[in-house]
Subunit: 333 residues, 2 copies
Amino acid sequence: MSGATVDGASAAPGEAAEMAGAVQPALPGRLVVVGSVALDTVETPRGRRERILGGSASFFSTAASYFTRPQLVAVVGADFPEEHVEFLRGRGVDLSGLERSEGRTFFWEGRYSKDLASRTTLDTQLNVFADFRPRLPEAYRGAEFLFLGNIHPALQLEVLEQVRRPRLVAMDTMNLWIETQRDELRRVLERIDLLVINDEEARQLADRHNLPQAARAIHDMGPRAVIVKRGDSGALLFHEHGVFAAPAYPIEEVIDPTGAGDTFAGGFMGYLARRGDLGPAAVRVAMIYGSVMASFCVEAFSLDRLRSLSPQEVAIRFRDFQELTHFEDVSLD
Amino acid sequence: MSGATVDGASAAPGEAAEMAGAVQPALPGRLVVVGSVALDTVETPRGRRERILGGSASFFSTAASYFTRPQLVAVVGADFPEEHVEFLRGRGVDLSGLERSEGRTFFWEGRYSKDLASRTTLDTQLNVFADFRPRLPEAYRGAEFLFLGNIHPALQLEVLEQVRRPRLVAMDTMNLWIETQRDELRRVLERIDLLVINDEEARQLADRHNLPQAARAIHDMGPRAVIVKRGDSGALLFHEHGVFAAPAYPIEEVIDPTGAGDTFAGGFMGYLARRGDLGPAAVRVAMIYGSVMASFCVEAFSLDRLRSLSPQEVAIRFRDFQELTHFEDVSLD
């Protein structure tokens, strides 16, 4: 079913990351992501690109690589360009869990509306992803932080069987699984800490339009916390300490929104893994770093903006988010 | 055309306001609002109410009354219930500019969709509003702060002719005027400081979907600053100091969104008039107080939530907004 991993020629841990300018602590909390690595053909009002790097695990791990050394589990086909493997490796992503199978890589093609508010899927070819059974390398099983990207709930459950005792398990899902695999999805939800989901899917899962109500209903399904991603309206965190609202960074030239949600999740989980603290203050900062990374993602096709993105630019945009939201503590006299 | 004002029996300035628990400084910057006072029949998923108090100037002035003593210019008909006049007077609103004409009060009827995201106008009867020519009492003409509610641009221009030298002129408008009175609207825009407008109307006015781009295009039409109201996605301020994002307060039980935008504007302008400072820090806090007042508005039909709202509750929700948005200054090490 699955072939060899692609990581035979991996650089020594840390070395490649240093070359890429990644900022990584000596002992980050171990972060594992399971998801898709794909080739996408994307058309937006700003252009069209064919067979570019995509997939939830690609976006997630690249964003997380600014904070820690993420460990990736996914599958690609024989057609997957080596340059993409080199890119991820160069970002310091641990690829010992990336299988290369015979056949073709998962392919998605989509077109965005003129206002970028919606998109149409034109083609989906599961290819090697159809038979994907995630297998965590032994070195991944002690993961402290685990992100289950948007894959079949049955596979998400299989991953949960392979980790020992993670401190934080987060997941994403999509309308397809909500509609067709609701029972299995509910079984996963009972076992995770945090659901990271977009607003329309939150409404669909909870069968409620009002987002605070939807978050409460999802909380009752299991997760202690829910993050609702709202695109250019930002993201809301609902948890036992209340609600936190992260704005979206106002961007005049959105080139391609693909992967922004997974990039958000990668920045969020990457920061938490780096900080090793799950307190409410840390989680708020993680929401902002997630938003920071997502704001860069949409500035170019695929992960192209992150190819040149420096840690200094990340730090500057974090300050821009402070500037965007800060107001004085002025009580009425 | 217009008859007597309704303020013959007004309480001494400040007295009624004190009774209502309004917090008002000794010398607020004078704030004038020109707009509609209406009777609305509203149907939302939470119920139906007939001929309740509505209109942009009603919502605006009631919200502003928590910060200053707003001066209202509008017209009502012979059918306008005295209890509504008493309510506004009790809030400390100066009604010497409220005319009572023969005929019937401006009437609007609308129905909201199940998700409250859209509404259908079922009936509009201009009635006495059809012949309304705003006339500012002499005592209003030294206004420091002026809000031109959503009325015909020609009337907005007439108001501008009647004020001496306001420090801040803000206005609202709507799709009807954007579609039918664009030239006259552009003439008003050249003469004001701040446009407060909802997202769809901003896009329509600027002919651009992207909000930062739309705000820039509107800025080029005249206003130094643009506030884009986005309903439950909050509000964005674009001005020479950059962008500020105010979130919406997450509310589980929205009863009636009518008037939330005017209530936002009333809280915003009321706070600025009270503080008498137009610096960037003050304007940010004003955005939050506007959001605070709007968050209460939607919790009941008409202005009902503000009938019982105490200054203490306003102060508590301001702190809730701090809690909703605050995050630590944590740079990457």
